[in-house]
Amino acid sequence: MQNASQKPLELILARNLMSALSTPAFLVDEGGLLVFYNEAAGMLLGRRFEELGTVGPEEWGAMFGPFDGEGEPIPYDELPLVVAVRNGRPAHADFEIRSADGTRHRVEVSALPILTTHGSQGAIAVFWPASTQGTEGR
């Protein structure tokens, strides 16, 4: 049998869609590994995905956060993408992220699990600039 690796089709199609969006979007696999983000997300973070490559949650957290309203790091288990992957449920939150130049951006995040006939394949998250009225407590 061949040795070539292959992403699940659902992740491939999600990446293709995200590549065409002007909204920052992130993609993680079933293990929670960040496997892609689009150009809009790269502009927000100050680093293109091609520069960063696939990263795990610890590395991601050290570079970009996210942080709560007090500036404290948000636990990995509470991130919408992680909730979506682990629980197979959509999740929403607002928090701050830190771009490569140190600028902080307050964003709202909605994450959706990618569920297939073979189970969860990962999750996709879309970032929006936080509304001025805030969404804490959601």
Partner: protein, 293 residues
């Protein structure tokens, strides 16, 4: 491993004087494994002639369906072995969250579309969703994986000894992606086709036709060539010909495919168009043009 093309057309049967050489029957490929056992890849109208060519003695065979569009299942109720009680048929196909494989096929093999119901078929027929991991049929290891097309659709890889066949007849890997630049593991169907002895791949559209068919689930010639270059099979057969493509049109596409293939550094003779009735023995090292036999 021996291959015979029983139907090379896509979308809808297209018999007539303009399609005599490449054929008008829809997708079906017969694969004879090293122990003599037979697989049928898809059950378009081409499977009717496959059934007529089989002996009437008791037999067991496997049909591997890529998906359930009509051009891939229409021949099932015209496949002679399904009307023989001594025949055992295993039909493999993609799972769907909506209904079982049997239930979805029964929508076609039932009134008012069919004069017979699945439960009335005399043969011993079973329906199985393809597993996530590879499985064995006789001496072969089979792997199925979802590929970019409309609806749940599979490609297959069949490894028998040191020979391998990749079958991806309906495929649009370049939808929203540049497959010449994309990393290998992000290309739909890559692992199935990688370094196969033979790749049978979607070749439905000429480049000029593709812009009006984006998202229809098929490849342009450029996409088919790029996919073959990236995955590196020893030999590629373009398949699932558009029903509007006459023999003359396909001749011209074949010339263009070969010229572009070799101009890009591909081995001469390693790419051709599928011909109904054509046969290949993957053991045969000599590159003989694929012609109806």
């Amino acid at each position: 491993m021996k291959i015979k093309f029983w139907g090379t057309r896509g979308s809808v049967p297209s018999p007539g004087p303009e399609t005599i050489r490449y054929g008008g029957n829809t997708s079906c490929v017969g694969v004879t494994l090293s122990d003599g056992s037979l697989l049928a890849l898809d059950a378009g109208t081409g499977i009717r002639n496959l059934g007529l060519a089989l002996p009437a003695e008791p037999t067991r065979l496997h049909i591997l369906l890529t998906h359930l569009h009509l051009d891939h299942i229409q021949g099932l109720v015209f496949f002679a072995p399904v009307f023989r009680a001594q025949t055992e048929i295993v039909i493999w196909g993609p799972a769907s969250p909506e209904a079982s494989l049997r239930e979805r096929i029964a929508r076609y093999i039932s009134a008012p579309l069919s004069p017979v119901e699945v439960r009335e078929l005399p043969c011993d027929v079973s329906f199985r969703h393809t597993p996530e991991t590879e499985w064995e049929i006789g001496p072969a290891r089979i792997r199925a994986a979802s590929v970019a097309h409309r609806g749940p659709t599979l490609g297959y890889r069949i490894d028998d000894g040191d020979l391998s066949l990749a079958y991806i007849p309906d495929h649009e890997p370049a939808l929203g992606a540049d497959i010449e630049e994309l990393e290998e593991d992000w290309i739909s169907g890559f692992a199935l086709a990688s370094d196969a002895s033979l790749l049978i791949h979607d070749g439905q559209y000429a480049d000029a036709e593709y812009p009006n068919h984006i998202g229809w689930g098929h490849s342009s010639l450029s996409h088919s060539l790029a996919f073959a270059h990236r995955t590196g099979p020893e030999r590629t057969v373009l398949f699932h010909h558009d029903p509007l493509h006459s023999d003359e049109r396909l001749d011209a596409l074949g010339v263009e495919a070969r010229e572009r293939w070799t101009a890009a550094g591909g081995a001469p003779g390693a790419i051709e168009l599928g011909v109904e009735g054509g046969e290949l023995d993957l053991r045969t090292p000599a590159r003989r043009p694929l012609e109806a036999i």
